[in-house]
Symmetry: C2
Subunit: 278 residues, 2 copies
Amino acid sequence: MMETVSTNRAFGGVQGVYRHASAVCAIDMTFSVYVPPHAPGAELPVVWYLSGLTCTHANVTEKGEYRRLCAELGLIFVAPDTSPRGDGVADDPEGAYDFGLGAGFYVDATQQPFATHYHMWSYVTEELPALVAAEFPADMARQSIMGHSMGGHGALTIGLTFPDRFKSVSAFAPIVAPSQVPWGQKALSGYLGDDRTAWRRHDAVALIEDGARIADLLVDQGEADPFLAEQLRPDLLDAACRAAGIPLTLRLQPGYDHSYYTISTFMEDHLRWHSARL
Amino acid sequence: MMETVSTNRAFGGVQGVYRHASAVCAIDMTFSVYVPPHAPGAELPVVWYLSGLTCTHANVTEKGEYRRLCAELGLIFVAPDTSPRGDGVADDPEGAYDFGLGAGFYVDATQQPFATHYHMWSYVTEELPALVAAEFPADMARQSIMGHSMGGHGALTIGLTFPDRFKSVSAFAPIVAPSQVPWGQKALSGYLGDDRTAWRRHDAVALIEDGARIADLLVDQGEADPFLAEQLRPDLLDAACRAAGIPLTLRLQPGYDHSYYTISTFMEDHLRWHSARL
């Protein structure tokens, strides 16, 4: 059911990489899970980390600097891939980085050729949680979700859709309103078609406008992020949260860019934020 | 003189990657330097990190998890490449990973075709320190050196050769006696020729046997490291240090392997060890 690709001891726990035959994506999927040191029989809270454009599970696994904190706080850390991959999986017609492979945008595609494999919404919200619950010492009553960029979009939209499942939500440099920015418009039209009403369930700002609520929200955004003004637009999230009465802690970080150097710097704050709510 | 390849803000400081025309290697060389946050005009101690086989500056820069500690402790962290690279740089005749590109072994080669570019000893002990002193806010009176595997060999041999320059020396899974193990015998014969008397200055155990002394030494070695018994042989270092009266803190870490998952786990202990001696 689940194949172990690799395991490495780290910070007293085990960093694993696993592969399984995904039913909803109709292809093998790879993901990583860090299990911190724990007492026999213990069940631990789970932090989901959704990655950004071009990434696999490996980017945050190698560069995210989360294991020290997860070991200290007793958190399982799950990092899925960002799209289906493999023989027959459609890609952007021109191989662009912002659509297709590495760019699943955490939606269930309805448009061909993507509808065959691109079911990242169901994968991340249903199939992979069931696998994690079955295979790891996870307390699924205590989950939180975070992500970066496209994965911040995923974390926000999933967190807003399942406010009872996720005790807390945070993001690094998220795409907060894909309906209003080029990356998102390309992806949502390509995966979901041109009917924009279908887009609103995959747009954090639209979800909030349509009534979705969560207890609070932490977002870090680098001020030197080259995608800030055109693609990320934290101002739109700030306005939506203010109108909805959602307490948003939006931290603009001077000099920080869109890279894992930023993520690793602020990972500790995010994991402590989640741990305090789990 | 020195070209900036990239800079990223991280943990309040700057992680940079730089390139320069190396005179001693007769080719462009790339290295990384992390400069932590500091007061204007401050001069900071320098930790040298020498990487292992197949690595460039990038491996530890991305996976080493040193920046948080360097920011806290006020340490500059320098990561050189492991060999010259580029047009005309000789490689292992069969492209093996353990000799030639990515495997300079921190010696000045005397054997052709390697003697043309492979001068990593002079590069790491002379040319790059001069460049670091000139270009960064470094207090060169306070330096320490550490490394991993082949880079642990480099750190030990350089530290033992310059006990007045380096306030402290440590290593992860070092090759402690290259004259006695396959990796080292291949490299030292290939770079230095078959006269084994020339090898002793590049063999930590031989250096200690020949009278080199340092104040103390920290080594972490994973017990699940697949190279432990054949290539690394911490037992030989332990015996040499005992005979010489060098206090060696040799920590065998159960379950840990040869990867950066091990290095990142124990990086904090090593940087605190160095900081206490700087």
